[in-house]
Homo-oligomer: 405 residues x 2
Amino acid sequence: MRDFLPAEKARRERVLGVIRETYRAHGFDEIETPVMEESSRLHAGLGGDNEKLAYAVLKRALTADDLNAAAASASPLDLADLGLRFDLTVPLARFYATHRAALPSVFRAIQIAPVWRAERPQKGRHRQFVQCDIDIIGESGALAEVELITATAATLSALGLEGWSVRVNDRRILTGLLDHAGVPAAQHERALITIDKLDKIGADGVAAELAENGIPAAGLAEALAASGWELLDGNPPAWLDQDAYRDLLALRDALPHVDLVFDPTLVRGMGYYTGTIFEVAHPSSSSSLGGGGRYDGMIGRFLGTDVPACGFSLGFERLVDLVDLTTDEVQDAVALVYDPAVPVSRLVALKTHLVAGGSRVRLEARTKNTKTLLERLALEGYTRFAFVEADTTPETLELRALTVG
Amino acid sequence: MRDFLPAEKARRERVLGVIRETYRAHGFDEIETPVMEESSRLHAGLGGDNEKLAYAVLKRALTADDLNAAAASASPLDLADLGLRFDLTVPLARFYATHRAALPSVFRAIQIAPVWRAERPQKGRHRQFVQCDIDIIGESGALAEVELITATAATLSALGLEGWSVRVNDRRILTGLLDHAGVPAAQHERALITIDKLDKIGADGVAAELAENGIPAAGLAEALAASGWELLDGNPPAWLDQDAYRDLLALRDALPHVDLVFDPTLVRGMGYYTGTIFEVAHPSSSSSLGGGGRYDGMIGRFLGTDVPACGFSLGFERLVDLVDLTTDEVQDAVALVYDPAVPVSRLVALKTHLVAGGSRVRLEARTKNTKTLLERLALEGYTRFAFVEADTTPETLELRALTVG
């Protein structure tokens, strides 16, 4: 978990502002849920491996009996009734089930918020990190996917990112492919975990690992080789799910300006996906910048009634490292370098005067080495400065330009 | 802990935006710390009663031995190594001690973030709530107090709040007062807890409670009666601390536009205050909207070297209930009410066209009762709408005004 110093915090807030405004323009509405959810909800099987990484919060007023019982059963989680969320999807499903009556029939949600996972410390992994999720609940058609991808593409463009593409697939296509390859339904999940490694271990590695696990997969290698849109455009193979086929063509048709790559081997980790899945690939990053998909069965787990849902999550931490917004919004920022003899009331009057005129203003006591001081202020983003003496007034204040170097 | 639905979330973000921008204009820099701090820091005696309300986070990979040991000693906190912060001051002190070398010699910090306290559920109290803190570290003079109060006053004005005042006092004045009244130093803290109740139980109640606790307080009632600036303007009593006297007059001199009320009975709960203390009173609220003071000894607890510090915290939850920003920024928001037969690609092209023109756009499927639909959209803040048919193009799109009622 990290501290953010002023320059980095300002950068993060600017990037978050762009994301929030773009999503809002696309008709999504921001909501917020508490950082803690009930343990039973966090451990309901919807978070995959992430459930194991959830931070648990101790119950209040634990008795000696509680402690003895947990010791006897060796179940520390019995001592926790709340936990920190590990994603924003489980909280959204709970939120929607609670507030459905107050929400539009098709609800487009924005969530921009931190999540926590007790990962082992390693490069590029953080235990607290921000996710930017948009979800559409209540829309069963491909319009949901198209709006999610359009809003995400607009956001990446607004952030000045180039060269990215959106890889798409459909869980129904994967199911058809596995059936066609002779993988028994009970082994689908296991097989998908292996196929998900295709990028890393290659087609031969996948075949070897499947064989190792005793999973028959006769026609798989051939099907995996024939990837991309050509699979859909020629004579689509018989195992290609017809609904998924129709939805993918609708996506391509509606998103002519997005570099959309159909990849029938794309898996996405979470078990709750039921239809389209997608992720953003960027040449600078071996892992994706974000992803998502359709999860039509999940809301029903909380609500009792199935409601179609589809979401797209951007990994903010990777994104913020790639984005360069330094040339944006250079606000007029003035440093008033004052002599310690100037009365406080005069300093504050001068500062208030400049703030009222629209400047950002910092009071800075004059030091012996003025040059070093001014250089530091320029590096911190201050664009102008003035020396303030005991008799300086707003009228006699002489503002000069501050430049780096 | 609460969920925030779209309208309330948008209101909160607008108010936070005003607070953040005003503080930034006044030369403060935003930072961020993780929501969890080490248990040992949270329970170092700097949080007063709030320490007892801290949520504790279970250690990872607890063994049966750990559980047995905690059961044997009846110490559930032994099972936690982290906890959720209960305020933003302890994290700031830790942050400053860690990053001092990278920060300006006088550091003006903004922290706008949630904190958690395991309060019993009651009206107006929440277990997760947002605080807006500004702190100045490294400035020993009254300039710090003046800048904090100026920035806070500007923020309250920017939020359109009127009728508030800032009550000020100084811990050194309270000490002088108690010495003068014959309260032994060892009983000062206890006596202050009683004086803090003056508003609720009156001067007689205070005298009775002091007597009950065996605290001699001969001249206290008289001194408490002579409150306000007249105490400073006439012949200041001998017990009035001279440094505090000078600082208070400097505050009044530098803040002519702020309704500043000197109240020698103002206590503020936290034990770490060493000088000026202040809080914002508002006629609509019996409790304060925020407060703060000087805490010169605290940073030294983390750093080893004393560094002067002073802070002002606004209670965001009370503030947001008082603020009315409804007339602000009516963004152009367009609802495209579409016939289900319109292809997805056309819907998205129309939407993208309007978004590019600066509008916020939502696609909304046409329902049988169009009137009800349009009324709901108007209530949600949509200002224009158009019906979209299969042949609608950007050129033939007919936008009409949407009005409530």
